[in-house]
């Protein structure tokens, strides 16, 4: 149960770019490389965008247009909770007969947590439940858009120049759009460091189109600044009106100092990510497309493949040998105690899901040495180790050793063999394990 309740007790060493020690529940196992992988040695990719409150999927192109914000949901500018739409009945004059009034529904946004309402900032009630709410316009939008266009064009031009130089060296008759077609998809283009801002090249001009020359005016520095109001130092502060830093910075367009200018913003989208092994480029984890589903299309979690603290997760009989770390082992940096592990090979029965229900099945006889094996139950085994703490300090006792076990790759590609089924070969894997046993008493 250490895997669920005390995950940091048993740590496995992952050989990646950095040596990372982490519990098995956070690791993945690449069955093509037959190695453990942690979150730091896989590449994270964006799979899909979705809104956390309305759970609506959004295609990536649309997400980019809307700046990764949901169209329907709003965040409270005060406490960042999700806003809900509430309706009231207000009397409104009938269009035919102005003297009579009828009840019409008016909608306003309200936060259930801090009781902020859209009426607090002066936003009028809308007559439609959704779609009527607009974010205020940024006064600098035009200038920013012009700057973006100019720099996009510049990036485009630089890219063409570079491609032309490269292609001119090798094949002069290749069309100029060659690099464009293969951009961002292959590994070589993706992993090239120092590449120019490729996101700006999203909107590319087609060949033959006239390129407009876009000129921008440089920003002008002003000599005179607006002076502070005269009562700046003497006016008493109205504390509820002052916005906190977090509230201010969540609206980078306006950064209002007063709470009566805090307008709600659209809710930020979340992403589902897929993980890919960096060495073999296979997917380790790929989530479902539907935002409401928590399952995965591919999920190669280490707990399903690698041995846990001697619970056998696979269905074959597995042989385990434990080897203590030798003196001067470069991976053995954390242990504060010497451990003597059983030298014999331990045999674990396979995982059989039906074994719990099958009472008539005969227990397999493994002839365990009672000094080594404490108990055995279906695919679990308990065994003894001797621990000699090396230091007298009050810290935790940590031991490390290596587990060596055989592993059958059930997903290996089927090789056409002439003699019918050949059993899959077993390979031996070695993992470096660290166990934290707790503090020394007395």
């Amino acid at each position: 149960m250490a895997s669920l309740l005390q995950p940091d007790r048993v740590l496995y060493l992952v050989h990646g770019e950095k040596k990372i020690r982490s519990p098995l529940s956070t690791l993945y196992f690449c069955r093509y490389c037959s190695e453990l992988r942690s979150l730091e040695c896989v590449s994270h990719e964006v799979d899909s965008h979705y809104c956390p409150s309305c759970l609506e999927n959004m295609p990536s192109a649309e997400a980019k247009l809307k700046k990764n914000r949901c169209a329907n949901c709003f965040d409270c500018p005060c406490c960042m909770h999700t806003l809900s739409t509430r309706a009231t009945n207000i009397p409104a004059p009938l269009p035919d007969d102005p003297s009579k009034t009828t009840m019409k529904k008016a909608y306003y946004l309200a936060c259930g947590f801090c009781r902020w309402t859209s009426r607090d900032v002066g936003m009028a009630d809308k007559s439609v439940a959704s779609g009527g709410w607009q974010e205020p316009d940024n006064p600098h939008t035009q200038r920013i858009n012009k700057l973006i266009e100019y720099y996009q064009q510049l990036a485009q031009r630089e890219k063409l120049e570079r491609d032309r130089k490269k292609l001119a060296r090798r094949r002069p008759y290749m069309p100029l759009a060659f690099s464009e077609k293969y951009g961002l998809g292959t590994r070589l283009q993706r992993q090239r460091p120092g590449a120019p801002i490729t996101s700006l090249a999203g909107l590319s001009l087609k060949e033959g189109e006239d390129q407009k020359e876009i000129n921008i005016e440089p920003a002008q520095a002003l000599d005179e600044v607006e002076p502070l109001p005269e009562d700046c130092y003497t006016r008493p502060i109205n504390l509820p009106e002052v916005t906190s830093l977090r509230q201010r910075l969540l609206q980078p367009d306006f950064q209002p100092a007063g709470a009566s200018q805090l307008h709600p913003k659209h809710k930020h989208l979340l992403i589902k990510r897929s993980l890919r092994c960096r060495k073999c480029e296979h997917n380790l984890s790929k989530p479902e497309f539907n935002p409401t589903s928590i399952k995965f299309k591919i999920q190669l979690v280490a707990e399903c493949q690698v041995l846990l603290t001697l619970t056998n997760p696979v269905e074959n009989i597995t042989h385990v040998t434990l080897v203590g770390c030798e003196e001067g082992d470069p991976e053995d940096i954390n242990s504060t105690a010497k451990v003597m592990v059983p030298t014999k090979e331990l045999v674990l029965a396979g995982k059989d899901a039906a074994a719990d229900y099958d009472e008539l099945a005969e227990p397999q006889d493994f002839q365990d040495d009672p000094d080594v094996v404490a108990f055995r139950k279906s695919n679990k085994i308990g065994f003894f180790i001797k621990v000699v703490p090396q230091r007298e300090e009050d810290g935790d006792v940590t031991v490390s050793f290596k587990i060596r076990h055989d592993f059958r790759n059930l997903a290996a590609p089927i090789r056409p063999s002439e003699e019918g089924d050949a059993p899959t070969e077993a390979i031996w894997l070695t993992h470096h394990v660290e166990l934290s046993l707790g503090p020394i008493i007395a």
Partner: protein
Amino acid sequence: VEFVLHVQVANIAAGAVVCVESEIRGDVTIGPRTVVHPKARIIAEAGPIIIGEGNLIEEQALIINSYPENIMPDTEGVEPKTMTIGINNVFEVGCVSQALKIGDNNVIESKADLGKNVILTSGCIVGACCQVNTCEVIPENTVIYGSNCMRRVQTERPQPQTLQLDFLMKILPNYHHMKKTVKGTSTPVRN
């Protein structure tokens, strides 16, 4: 030697709906149209409690007029202080209120904790699980929310829960026995 006789019978006005399973101890006056749910506790230890009309006191809420910490119950010369609660307040499930003066239209959300030295004015909302044990008067229309008890001022006061009160006054007598009111035992019929 002076004997002071505390009235032990709760003074429940006609029109209030007080369930028998609620615990009312001491000198408690409850106004009309107030609903006290079962398992609510109103304890007047160190003085009487006067509750206005239109209040909603939900399950496991505790309104207690207790002795200050450093005074023993038997000390002589201690004046009993009256706890006053105004109209249209809502005490949600599990809240604890020791505040001596509560105005109108306040909402004390679930598991909130009000200390003895707080005075609530009107339209205040004390958020769920917020502990307010400062010695101050909370200004009108204040909202206390969040794990750090952040505060802000809202522009409208919370609406009185008339719909909820009417519904409960109709439904609760169907499932619970009611405590006797001062003038007659029947709850008036509302149109």
